[in-house]
Symmetry: D2
Subunit: 442 residues, 4 copies
């Protein structure tokens, strides 16, 4: 059981050499993807920090490199010398064990190093990591840490996109990050209910089906009792959200949690984040990474806070699923279908309308939008944080956050799995967060 | 099942007449207790509001009467006339369904009505409620609502005490509310671990053992799987907390949740609320409702935030119990022992040292201090709020709060039961909140 | 010159005995007036603090007594013992030289001592002061300090009224402090301009005409050059303010100082403080110390911030006078007329309509409302604060405040004089503050 | 008199053609200087906004161009087309008359247009302004507005430097803007007092001596009475400030204005802005535009708030001069000496030690540091704002600010004159602000 509690390639099952070479390829691919993501951006774009919760794109690029330098090079290089000694503090995110941190709300104040210098930092550290990998082809601990570093990198790739979207939204010109809508005809899909019997089940990360890596917060696999429930066959759409709005949903306190109602009043919430009343008087416009577009009724709604998702569900006479209900439903999806979602590789950078549904299986479980669950982000029974410095990765955030599941249009496809737990406070809106309904079976 | 979802005397099992007369006695007793609680206070004391979360004693007295007037007299009196029409807004706490509310942070600004007028308001409404009870001896709905009103009254009796304690603490003279320490010799009690096997169990309100009333949030009774665990034989003490302090507990981020660490830094937390370094240079003093006293090592620690309780547990190599673990343990306590706790009737208004333990049964499960659990305040599977205006009582607060169990030295004895769920945000300190440890069985 | 810089009865000109007996009478009269002002108030009313800038009535009563105890009894009693040692901190307002201070925003948290105990404190200190006066009939320093204490007391009498008005305004019942409008027929008075030639003049406190006491901030008398100007023959009225409102005055940035416009936007300012749109759809209602009344067009407007007064003046094509223009105009008013204003002794507790004007002399210069001037509260050339502890009385507040002149309906008549300088920050509204127009002579 | 109230070249006294050609040269020179100032900066540096009161360098460059486009091209071009229609809002600073404004605290969020695009914007508008100047060689109104635009540009050149200094100070590397200290031997200069008789004088802008342009706030020239006074022969130095610190100056409330003391407590002020305790344990280091340096005792102290300047003066047994005392002293300085100060052209970007003094004339009146005066920024008697859109330039800021005089090491030499009034709120520290002492003559 202990093995599952640390960052790991679990039973890679490959000869060490092949594993190392696959690791090298994966390392190169994931690291290159981060740099590819800033191609549409100027050095000034990469400098922007629009709120304390978001970070500049340049900071993401540097911090991801800091992670490899601090947790791997420092340990595996014999005569380790830092690229720049000041980076240890400058690009530490939240690891108290590593030492001081530059204050998060001021990350946008770091104009030096420049973007160019940060890219040089990446190149050098990449080369040195590759050298270390070559020197230690069999080192399991090294393999574990590189794997962790790459999953960490993928998490930040998504944050880089959501953070730059938030930053660009402050520009009245509503500039587009990209212009490449995947074309698609619309084929409206009715919402159906799919029933599950539940029972006393084992849930959590399962190396037999969930791949060779998990974060500590997905473990240990443990028993949960789930009562029978129905879950929605697809995500809630913009069109359904518009009906909520037109029915006065944002003005009716009985639909909201008390804290949600306060949030809505304080923030004058009247529609999802990035929506605005349409210039031509009816309908809504939506700021996306593809610029300002008309709100499409059949596209999954996103950028909802937990409060909005919860209020919508109550208005619809339903509720949010628990994370275990969600996981049970997700594990029922045929493997082939699960991999065909709308992930970052599709370059839509936005949810897209559902084209078809299979009768007995919920659609859109992976990709498009993260799905709010009613589950708090709590430790699983028997949870133990990873040992060492990376022990600060997850456990210390288990308070006043809710679990989201399933990945989004900004998630790398290879990053998501049925046991994956994302988490945000209930007022967070700037992630690609939406919802799927659930209900009790009477 | 439906019957359990509404405010209720469940199966009173008495002839209507006897029930009504018992109801009358209970009504008179509970209502009188509220007024008794302000006897040590001046009109000016009763006016104090020291923070938005707390209310003036006078406001409590008025609001409790408003509850009976609004939810009972308005409905059951034929020619209902309000005592004072303006009170409907002035003393509404948070019921949007009832209409406007006077802003909570300004309750301390209501000097008129005076305390004397509020006491007149209580007397008149009491008489009218008694008249209604006499006229409708068989009305089950009336009985339900009066019962609810009395449990509501008891909740506020505890708040009245914790709120006035908070308010008086602003006075540099540290004035005592009462002077009547129950005398007790000290007999140090070692901490022992008591094991439970767990399994798939039914938990939540059980009318067979938990009495004739429950709040909606304790229902429905439902299945939960609990893994084997140990629980502490007694509460954590001041002495143990002092060891945590001396070991640098408040200065070591690795012991804290990230949000807790931020809270501790922002609030310069270095010891429990109401503690201060002792005048004579070593040890601590504690502001209590009995004035300023030396901190006693064997008394259960209280006025901890969730953050402090969680950090202490981590430091002690243990964790907080879940609310279901707690309930399972509480249901193992012999009935006689459960009723002998330190409740408000004992007039200590402070936790007291444990005198003895039974070998196989956890002590201090009821009374002394509310025990933080690691469970978020979430709806039980199948939860439905009460119907009607009182539906706002509980459900809308199920967000970013943690469950506390077991009652305290400020809780009326007849108010507590094994299924009772109290709840506060993790930074709340002004309740009599402490902790008991738990741990996994490897 | 030095003599003028310390608190003083200047040129008492009476034999010591007669002076002392006159001092005793004055002491008794002024001290009794403070207590008389709380007669319409309950102990709970006297506990209210509605904002950090305001204090509870009970605190005023205690602090005024603290002033006599600290600055006189401590010095002149041989075996001085404080009434209660804790009061030295509790009722210190802002004298760093005296030592610690209880935090101002929490004055409303001091329920103990009770009002009754504070009245006992007053009685005892009064007796002891009278004893000291009897023992030291010739002590000039004592006489100076008692005189200062009485002027200090009168200042707080006005604050007591404006503070309780502010506090009572939080009560939705809009309770009246008093019910005794002085009756008066209305005789509309046109605004006329009265011209002054100005020149190089001596201004500031003049013991020949301004009585036997001045605060240090009114000294030294000094030369000022004033260009020719016109000043309004009367105060600006509610009717004129309504015309400003109807002309969009609160919505036109070009009428406002930049900081005033920000203030108006932040505070959603749309009318003077204590006004509200009338229930019956047109006109305005005004919360006064006499309860809620219809706004009367001929009554001087009051409770304006500097920002509103300045914006009104700009809208009217005029400007606020400087404090020196005001003083020059005030010194032109015949002595008899000056003493017939609407002061606190009239018990209107509100400005009243002007009944008649004399042709060449401005009316309403004294009483009714404090008049905002465009002069910052700065030291006069050669200004020196009083020596000793009372040196903190005025000088340290000379920053970001504006001078108001002339006294109000809440000012004791014997407290005001032509050289008197009141001062408040430009956003303060809760004083009886209004305006009179001025303009350049082309 | 009227002529003096509008933006103006007063009495150019040149044939129109020569005037126009001199205007062209001046336009080119001043505009080029703005671009020269960002040469040491990257695009990312130019994006930084470290507080709402400061603006990104890029924003300054764009806003200055907006000024010429909006106030001149819109009016003088026949078929005016904006460079980019969105810039009208984006780069409007505070002109309500021009329409909407992008929120000031979010200027740092404008990554697009890029710096390169802003430089293109500058080039195009420059060409178009030169074309307009060629077409209208005799247009006095045009000449006035271009002159105003160039003085406006010079004001922002100074702000650009103080803002980028503030932004770079957030970088733990303390990066230098420039590396070009002007070398200078140290020759300590004693502080001497220079007396002035004062009297009834005419002060304010005087075209005979102050050049051909003034802002409206320097007018009209008017009579002021000044009592006799002494003024310090030089600026207060770092060494003198260190003596203040060592004498507990920052810990003694009696030295401070009440509002200043609150400011110092809230901000934990213990030394001037940009100072830090020296790494090697004694003395101080100073972040400058030339990087981190040891504090030099003979250099004028700068980056003081008004509160610090006022407290220092009180500690020194003196006071700040009034702005009229300062102006009188400044007008006594021989013209030749006045022009030899330390201005931006010297490229020190920091005050420098005084090398010598003349006996009867105060040194360092111009350049080095802006000198706080005790005068509030108020309108001169008879003041009228300029007509038209530029009327918002100055008047609306006349509230809660203090006047500073004399220019600084970041001021263009041709921008300053004896009548020039700079102004900042009393807590502002990020300008090159220091002080000179004054005192009454007994």
């Amino acid at each position: 059981m202990d093995a599952m509690l640390s960052p790991q390639p679990v039973q890679l099952g490959l000869p060490a050499e092949a594993a190392a070479s696959s690791m090298v390829r994966r390392f190169q691919q994931v690291r290159a993807q981060s740099v590819a993501l800033i191609r549409p951006l100027s050095a000034e774009d990469c400098q922007l920090q629009s709120m304390p919760d978001a970070s500049p794109a340049k900071w993401h690029l540097a911090h991801l490199t800091w992670f490899f330098e601090t947790f791997i090079l420092e340990r595996f290089e014999t005569n380790f010398k830092p690229f720049d000694a000041s980076f240890r503090v400058l690009f530490n995110s939240y690891y108290n064990g590593v030492g001081d941190k530059y204050p998060r709300p001021q990350r946008g104040m770091i104009s030096r190093p420049t973007l160019e210098q940060v890219l040089d930092y990446r190149s050098e550290v990449d080369e040195r990591i590759l050298a270390v990998l070559t020197q230690h082809p069999d080192d399991a601990e090294l393999a574990k840490l590189v794997t962790l570093g790459l999953h960490h990198e993928q998490q930040h790739q998504e944050l880089l996109l959501t953070d730059i979207k938030h930053a660009l939204s402050f520009n009245p010109a509503r500039p587009a990050y990209a212009r490449q809508w995947p074309l698609a005809g619309i084929s409206p899909q009715p919402l159906r209910w799919i029933g599950f019997e539940g029972g006393l089940l084992e849930l959590g990360f399962d190396p037999r089906s969930d791949g060779d890596f998990a974060f500590d917060n997905e473990t240990p696999r443990h028993k949960v009792y789930i009562a029978p429930f129905d879950i929605g066959s697809r995500l809630v759409t913009n069109g359904e959200m518009m009906a909520f709005i037109e029915d006065g949903g944002y003005r009716r306190p009985e639909l909201w949690l008390s804290m949600g109602w306060d949030w809505a009043q304080t923030n004058h919430a009247a529609m999802p984040l990035y929506w605005q009343a349409s210039d031509h008087g009816c309908g809504y416009q939506n700021f996306t990474l593809q610029g300002l577009v008309e709100v499409d009724a059949h596209t999954p709604v996103c950028h909802l806070s937990y409060f909005e998702a919860d209020a919508y569900a109550r208005w619809a006479g339903a509720r949010l699923p628990t994370e275990f209900e969600w996981e049970l439903a997700a594990r029922s999806v045929p493997a082939q279908q699960a991999t065909q979602g709308n992930f970052v590789e599709g370059a839509a950078y936005h949810p897209i309308p559902l084209q078809q549904q299979s009768p007995g299986s919920p659609a859109q479980m992976f990709g498009d939008v993260w799905e709010w669950t009613q589950s708090n982000y709590n430790p699983y029974p028997g949870y133990k944080p990873w040992e060492g410095l990376v022990g600060e990765y997850n456990g210390k955030f288990m308070c006043n956050q809710f679990v989201l599941r399933g990945g989004s249009c900004a998630t790398p496809h290879s990053h998501i799995r049925a046991s994956y737990r994302n988490f945000f406070p209930p007022d967070a809106q700037w992630q690609f967060s939406g919802l799927r309904l659930a209900r009790d079976i009477a």
